[in-house]
């Protein structure tokens, strides 16, 4: 028993040490979660330096002691590294741009597949209006539109993915609403598509207006504003309906085609995109009513203004490029210099707008060169699925697409 007791001492000792190092780890990490996190973390090891290597009195330190201290110091560094690793995965850390640069690629949340906006092709390459906006942001940061990783998110998972830091931004036909902006703590960079909710039905139902849908079975994606608009619309018109909640657009398509629901409702752009993938699109009709305003746009987390500015002005650069006639084809020509100072400022041949964003002066050039201007994107992805410019024309042509000036 006594012998055990003797050997028990060191055991107890290591326990205490482990416990202490554990608490140390916890405190460091805790400190890092606070806002001014990085500074103390990186500052800690150098602080230990003078006391070990240069003794204040100039006396030679006892070797054994210094060794132990060195070990301690190493431990601190290791713990610091662990804490830093933990930190990079934590929520709401400021400096998203730094994180993205350090990581080497942009993490962009997109839909699980909506032709025209973001959908993978046979090779797994994502294409679409939203997907290319992600590429534009990646190009603005890295000068390379391919430094982006797409994360498919559903209507339900998108906000959690963004808030938790799993993605850096969402470009995923998300409606800008008060609660999402204010209560859910997101920042919308602007509107890249003015949409509204509509209804699609089979032609042979003989329905010509949404007002005739009393008693219908309606397929709807859960976790969207459309779900709430639908409830309000039917309630205010005194009609009944049977909602069939569905997780993704693909499931909705399957159920709608099988006739498990009479009506599919989502944003009109989404309806057009879905209809375009049907075998016989002409058997289906989109009803004339638009029951809501759905301004769709890219968004990021609240509280990192540098990052949301970057997204906002990348979007504005694409919009201004169309307005000023900058296209991916003539951009190299224009970059040699023009008489229009705004074009010069955008393309970085004049002023230093890029530096203000924390980017190269070529940022907007890279973005526009990579994916084309707003109009080019629209023509490439949204025209083929049957969407016309409508509200999304440039303001000069009577639409709502309008960028603040680059000045």
């Amino acid at each position: 028993m006594r012998e055990w007791g003797r050997s028990g001492r060191p055991v107890a000792g290591t326990n205490v040490m482990q416990l202490r190092s554990a608490t140390c780890f916890l405190t460091i990490r805790r400190a890092c979660k606070l806002d001014p996190c990085r500074a103390p973390l990186h500052a800690a090891p150098p602080e230990g330096d003078p006391s070990t290597n240069h003794h204040p009195t100039g006396a030679v330190p006892i070797p054994a002691q210094s060794e132990r201290k060195e070990v301690n110091m190493k431990k601190t560094i290791i713990l610091g590294a662990i804490a830093a690793a933990g930190l990079s995965a934590t929520v709401a850390s400021a400096g998203t741009l730094d994180d993205v640069k350090a990581r080497g690629y942009l993490q962009c949340g997109v839909t699980t597949g909506l032709v025209g906006f973001a959908a993978p092709d046979a090779n797994g390459e994502w294409h679409g209006f939203d997907a290319d906006f992600c590429r534009a942001v990646a190009a603005a940061i890295f000068g390379d539109p391919n430094k982006v990783k797409f994360t498919p998110t559903t209507g339900k998972t998108r906000f959690t993915a963004l808030a938790s830091g799993e993605v850096d931004m969402l470009a995923r036909n998300t409606t800008w609403t008060f609660t999402r902006d204010v209560d859910l703590k997101f920042t919308f960079a602007g509107v890249n598509y003015y949409d509204g909710q509509g209804f699609m039905v089979r032609k042979d139902l003989g329905v010509s207006s949404a007002k005739e849908l009393n008693g219908a079975t309606v397929c709807i994606q859960t976790g969207t504003t459309t779900e709430l608009n639908l409830a309000d619309y039917f309630r205010s018109n005194g009609m009944e309906y049977e909602p069939v909640p569905i997780e993704t657009n693909a499931e909705a398509r399957q159920q709608f085609l099988a006739g498990a629901c009479d009506v599919y409702t989502t944003d009109r752009s989404g309806l057009a995109a879905t209809r375009a993938t049907f075998e016989n699109p002409d058997d289906y009709v989109i009803l004339p009513e638009t029951i809501s305003k759905e301004p769709l746009g890219p968004l990021s987390r609240h509280g990192d203004e540098q990052w949301s500015d970057l997204i906002r002005w990348t979007l504005n650069a694409l919009i201004s490029a169309e307005e000023l006639g900058i296209t991916s084809a003539n951009i190299d020509e224009l970059r040699k210099g023009t008489n229009n100072p705004e074009i010069n400022r955008i393309l970085g041949t004049e002023g230093n707008l890029g530096a203000m964003l924390g980017l190269d002066k070529d940022w907007a050039y890279n973005a526009i060169k990579a994916v084309g201007n707003y109009g080019e994107l629209f023509d490439k992805y949204l025209k083929p699925i049957g969407l016309d410019r409508g509200l999304n024309a440039q303001w000069k042509n009577g639409g709502l697409i309008y960028s603040p000036p680059f000045r």
Binding site: T160, L213, N214, T217, E242, P243, A258, A260
Partner: protein, 421 residues
């Protein structure tokens, strides 16, 4: 070995060091230290979470539960509309969870019992078929079975429109099987007693149908009367050796009172009718419910079948032989000798299967069945952005349901377990 202290040795007084060196106290010391460590860790996690939520500007709060939910739910056992609160929506979801769990447990037990017994059948084909069923179902994830069942229901059944065109017709003019679910006749009372409203106008209010209460009271009274008759028959048998024939009296006692009550209430059926886009009237069993219910039942039944088989095989063969030697028939042997003993082995693992089924019902969203995971943990969570609160409530709800099922089944287990005298 510490116990081997010679008697009469001088009694040591307690010293702090004994907490480490004395085996009598050491175990306690270590446990106290570990407990303190675990508590500290939990405390830190909670504190850290609250702190970070504070930074995010989303302090923990449950006020959102009392905001209007603003969404509709298709299957609701209680009255609900989009202006009701999130709490009410969660309650609707909870009842849907309980419905599919209860129906699932019942069907799984019935199927499991039959398959388990039949798997031991001497008939080669029956035995093999049951083996195929058990191995097929329990070796494929339940989510796939749910999705497959849903796909079959949607793609094979006719659309409501097909009934109008005459391409499909109703079963017995009463049941309509469509790709949106099955519509069955609904019992209606023309002289209804009405409902009792419980909990006023709060979010947890619900109505109890007095008609249902009356029928249940009549049924239970009949069953009690029937038991009294049986006891009387037992007494007569003990005194005279002759058992009076009672089955017709007992059947009448159970059947007649509910039927009388039904007649008094003006019971009749309302048949589903095709009106507009869908069938109206009758009870609508939605595809989502049927798919989830069938898939969960068939999946869990495969496990229950194995449990039943193990239970039966745990009863020594001598018991069967003895029962047969006494002149009991095969059915009587199973019912009176083997099953009562097998139940002791069957019940404990059966509890786990019930719990599994209930928890697996949270896969409901895969087919759009609005259970509590779909309402509180799905739409409410998404529309309010209160992830932590919603998920914590959800976990609490499942914990409460599971513990309730366990306690009921444990009570039943105590009743059937071997009485040691």
């Amino acid at each position: 070995m510490a116990m081997a202290e010679p008697e009469g040795a001088p009694k040591e007084s307690f010293r702090p060091s004994m907490l480490i060196y004395d085996t009598r106290y050491r175990a306690i010391t270590i446990q106290v230290l570990v407990l303190a460590g675990v508590l500290a860790l939990i405390g830190w996690l909670v504190n850290n979470t609250l702190h970070n939520l504070e930074i995010l500007g989303k302090p923990l709060g449950f006020g959102f539960l009392f905001e209007p939910a603003s969404y509709d739910i298709n299957q609701r056992l209680i009255e609900y509309n989009s202006r009701d609160t999130h709490l009410r929506a969660a309650f609707v979801g909870l009842l849907n969870t309980l419905l599919v769990a209860a129906a699932g447990c019942a069907l799984a037990t019935i199927i499991g019992l039959f398959v388990g017994v039949l798997r031991l059948s001497k008939n080669w084909l029956v035995g093999r078929l049951m083996t195929v069923y058990v191995e097929g179902f329990r070796n494929v994830p339940v989510l796939l079975w749910i999705l497959l069942t849903m796909a079959i229901l949607i793609d094979t059944a006719p659309r409501p429109a097909a009934f109008r065109k005459g391409e499909a017709s109703m079963l017995f003019d009463a049941i309509a099987i469509t790709n949106r679910g099955i519509y069955i006749p609904e019992p209606v009372f023309s002289r209804s007693l009405g409902n009792i409203h419980l909990f006023g106008s709060s979010s947890l209010r619900f109505d109890v149908s007095l008609d249902l209460v009356a029928i249940l009271v009549a049924l239970i009274a009949g069953i009690i009367a029937s038991i009294l008759v049986r006891r009387w028959a037992d007494r007569v048998q003990e005194e005279t050796g002759d058992r009076p024939t009672t089955w017709h009296i007992r059947t009448a006692l159970v059947v007649v009172p509910p039927v009388l009550v039904l007649w008094a209430l003006g019971f009749h059926l309302v048949y589903p009718e095709l009106k507009g886009f869908n069938f109206k009237g009758g009870i609508h069993l939605r595809n989502s419910f049927i798919a989830l219910w069938l898939a969960l039942s068939l999946y869990t039944a495969a496990f229950i079948a194995e449990i039943v088989r193990a239970g039966i095989q745990s009863v020594p063969k001598g018991q069967t032989e003895a029962a047969l030697a006494l002149g009991l028939s095969g059915g009587q042997t199973m019912r009176l000798v083997i099953l009562p003993q097998a139940l002791r082995v069957i019940i404990p693992p059966l509890i786990s299967q019930y719990l599994n089924l209930t928890k697996n019902s949270s896969l409901a969203i895969a087919v759009g069945y609005m259970d509590i995971t779909g309402t509180l943990g799905g739409i409410t969570l998404n529309q309010t952005g209160r992830e932590l609160e919603s998920i914590m409530l959800l976990m609490l709800v499942y914990l409460a349901i599971s513990l309730s099922i366990s306690s009921v089944m444990n009570w039943y287990n105590k009743r059937v377990k071997l009485k040691e005298r």
